[in-house]
């Protein structure tokens, strides 16, 4: 873990990292973007790698979490400053510790962050309230599809690749992923119907 306290404008939580690390655009993200997470999320990823078996059947949640966590943790271990981990004090506990740690970190260093990438909609809402309370800062909590959008907008991937990655995220994240993807498609806007099967989960 590179604990160098470098804060990039994008901070990402555990589940959002798992969601994007499982897509074929992950290497494009690690090659192009600069991301920060908290030590709590970093430890959650490592715990998933240890506790979930890589031999879980293809298509199961356990396999998805194991694989995504394994891929997600790698760039944070590399020396270099593009993927950084910052300590969170006090350290939250419980089921949603990762998400909570992102919120605490934003509350304490709000001027450092512009984008909070969080998988859970309640988490996003709580963080957006934090951003909204500070009038002098600009920040927004959005779903992990936003990272894919950044690549697309910067022409680091094609529309076909973007849609493909959305499809992969959809298959792994189910209904939660679907809502995030719909919102992204409507906001950009982009038409992925050419690039994805009619039955989105097939």
């Amino acid at each position: 873990m590179v604990d160098d306290d470098v804060r990039h404008p994008i901070i990402v939580d555990t589940d959002a990292l798992i969601a994007v690390a499982n897509t074929s655009l992950w290497s494009r993200i690690t090659d192009n973007l600069q991301l920060t997470t908290t030590n709590v999320c970093y430890h959650e990823l490592n715990r998933h790698v240890r506790e979930m078996t890589e031999y879980a059947p293809e298509g199961t949640r356990e396999r998805w979490v194991h694989q995504g966590s394994k891929k997600a943790v790698e760039p944070f271990d590399d020396e270099g400053t593009s993927f950084t981990t910052v300590p969170c004090v006090p350290r939250p506990h419980g089921e949603d510790a990762g998400e909570k740690s992102i919120q605490t970190e934003i509350e304490q260093n709000i001027e450092s962050y512009r984008f909070a990438i969080v998988m859970d909609k309640h988490g996003r809402r709580a963080i957006n309230r934090v951003f909204a309370e500070k009038e002098e800062t600009t920040g927004k909590a959005v779903a992990p599809t936003f990272l894919l959008y950044l690549l697309l907008d910067e022409e680091k991937c094609t529309v076909a690749e973007f849609c493909q990655a959305c499809g992969e995220m959809l298959r792994g994240e189910g209904w939660t992923g679907y809502q995030a993807i719909q919102a992204a498609w409507e906001a950009i806007p982009v038409d992925c119907s050419q690039h994805l099967p009619n039955d989105l989960l097939s």
Partner: protein
């Protein structure tokens, strides 16, 4: 306007007795129709799988389902997607300085 055609009927001997017990117990009784409507809405949402919800939302987008029906089946999803779309569109306007590697 309610018509005869929008009636839902179903068999349930014990449920009917249970309903009558509560109805008699309360001053003014209970609104069985309203309870049934709420119960069905809640149960319909609960039984839907992720795949079914996605299919239903797709059908709604293609105009095959009315907004009222979609709301019953998908709950606050439509609102949620709209809220997320706004957040996404707003974030897309932000300065991306420092977002990409040099």
């Amino acid at each position: 306007m309610a018509t005869n055609n929008d009636k839902i009927q179903f068999r349930g001997e014990t449920e009917k007795k249970a309903t009558q017990v509560v109805d008699q117990m309360r001053l003014g009784g209970i609104n069985v129709s309203e309870l049934a409507r709420q119960g069905i809405q809640q149960k319909l949402r609960e039984v839907l799988s992720d795949e079914e919800k996605i299919t239903l939302h797709q059908r709604y987008k293609q105009g095959e389902l009315s907004e009222e029906v979609a709301e019953i089946l998908l709950g606050d999803t439509l609102e949620e997607i709209e809220r997320e779309r706004e957040a996404f569109a707003e974030a897309a306007q932000f300065d991306t300085n420092g977002v990409f590697q040099e």
